[in-house]
């Protein structure tokens, strides 16, 4: 007897029934989760930085910006000496051994209608940021100074009279 005649139609029925059967959906979900664990998504660099790193990056950025601004201020062309004396240098020695520090441009000082001079004393440490040398020995000293003020009280220049 030919087996095919007996069982082929039955296998057709089985194939038809089985064709609609698939693995449960949970299997795919589990596998995709396993895949995600095996191949973690690479995030863009800015997402990979944690908040703490962002804070550190921000602090560094701020510090660099502050240094840059300070450096630019120190080398401000308005404050630097120029050959024809169009503006005063930040620091210059006057004829009497004093140290003259221009805080504004020469034009601004010359155009001041009613400048006045006020004698005062300033701490040496506060002058350090203007380029006045500072050592541990003289950091606590004060220096006699003549402040050139505008009519509105704004400092235009300072002359240190008792500085070495």
């Amino acid at each position: 007897m030919d087996n095919r005649d007996t069982i082929d139609p039955l296998f057709d029925a089985l194939r038809g029934e089985m064709a609609r059967l698939d693995a449960p959906r949970g299997v795919e979900k589990e596998l995709l989760q396993a895949f995600a664990r095996q191949f973690p998504q690479k995030q863009p660099w800015h997402r990979r930085l944690a908040l703490r790193r962002w804070a550190l990056a921000g602090s560094l950025s701020t510090a660099v910006t502050a240094l840059t601004v300070f450096s630019l201020l120190l080398h401000n062309p308005r404050l630097d000496a120029d050959p024809d004396g169009a503006s005063r240098p930040l620091l210059s020695r006057d004829g009497n051994g004093g140290l003259f520090i221009a805080l504004e441009t020469q034009e601004r000082i010359e155009q001041e209608p009613a400048p006045r001079v006020v004698e005062t004393e300033v701490s040496r440490s506060s002058l350090a940021r203007l380029g006045v040398p500072l050592t541990p020995e003289n950091a606590g000293d004060t220096v006699k100074a003549e402040m050139l003020l505008g009519a509105d009280g704004q400092p235009l220049a300072v002359r240190l009279t008792s500085i070495d």
């Binding site: 089985l14 038809g16 596998l31």
Partner: protein
């Protein structure tokens, strides 16, 4: 370019998958899960076990616990082979713990293709299919010895060639041929007395 279309070869999907493309892995899974699940289901008779087998086979592919070599054949045959080995391992473990009726078949011998009692699970899935004719064949398959069942399922249900089945079952083609012949004869014998009832008969 869409790298996960229905026409993308398995090897391309595998290559993309190994670079971390989840879509490629999902495409591979969706392409092969159905046949693999159906094979495992008919082979072991339990939908839970079949689902576990599918999951473990793909997990092994993902983790490269099971290394696929495209030079040795198509991915589908490789997955069938993995599934078969997983099922054999499960059966081996079960055989150690459960006293079964005398069944000491030599995998390559000419033992009875239809042992007295099937090795598959019954119980919640005693009836698996709605169609009565299909269910009868499934039950008859369940009564075949496992190594006959492998060959009959792969040939009749998945239409694989003798060579592919030989590769999956790790036997030579002659053995495939003889097992198929004996398995079909045993099925025909068991199903010979069955006739569909008029109300449940498949049209």
């Amino acid at each position: 370019m869409n790298t996960t279309s229905a026409t993308t070869p398995d090897t391309d999907l595998l290559r993309t998958m190994r670079k971390g493309d989840a879509d490629a892995f999902a495409a591979l899974y969706r392409r092969h899960q159905g046949p693999l699940y159906r094979f495992a289901l008919l082979r072991c008779g339990s939908s839970d076990t079949a689902a576990d087998v599918v999951q473990e086979a793909f997990m092994g592919l993902l983790t490269e616990r099971f290394r696929f070599d495209p030079l040795r054949g198509p991915l589908q045959s490789f997955l069938f082979g993995v599934a078969r080995n997983l099922i054999l391992k499960l059966e081996e473990g079960r055989r150690r713990h459960v006293a079964l009726p005398a069944f000491d078949a030599d995998q390559d011998g000419d033992d009875d293709p239809e042992p007295d009692q099937p090795l598959i699970e019954t119980g919640p899935l005693a009836r698996l299919l709605d169609n009565e004719a299909a269910e009868q064949v499934r039950k008859a398959l369940a009564h075949l010895a496992p190594h006959y069942r492998d060959v009959v399922i792969l040939y009749e249900m998945h239409e694989l060639s003798y060579a592919e089945i030989a590769d999956i079952c790790q036997v030579d083609i002659g053995t495939v041929r003889s097992r198929l012949s004996r398995g079909r004869a045993a099925l025909a014998k068991r199903l010979a007395g069955w006739h569909p009832t008029p109300t449940l008969a498949h049209a």
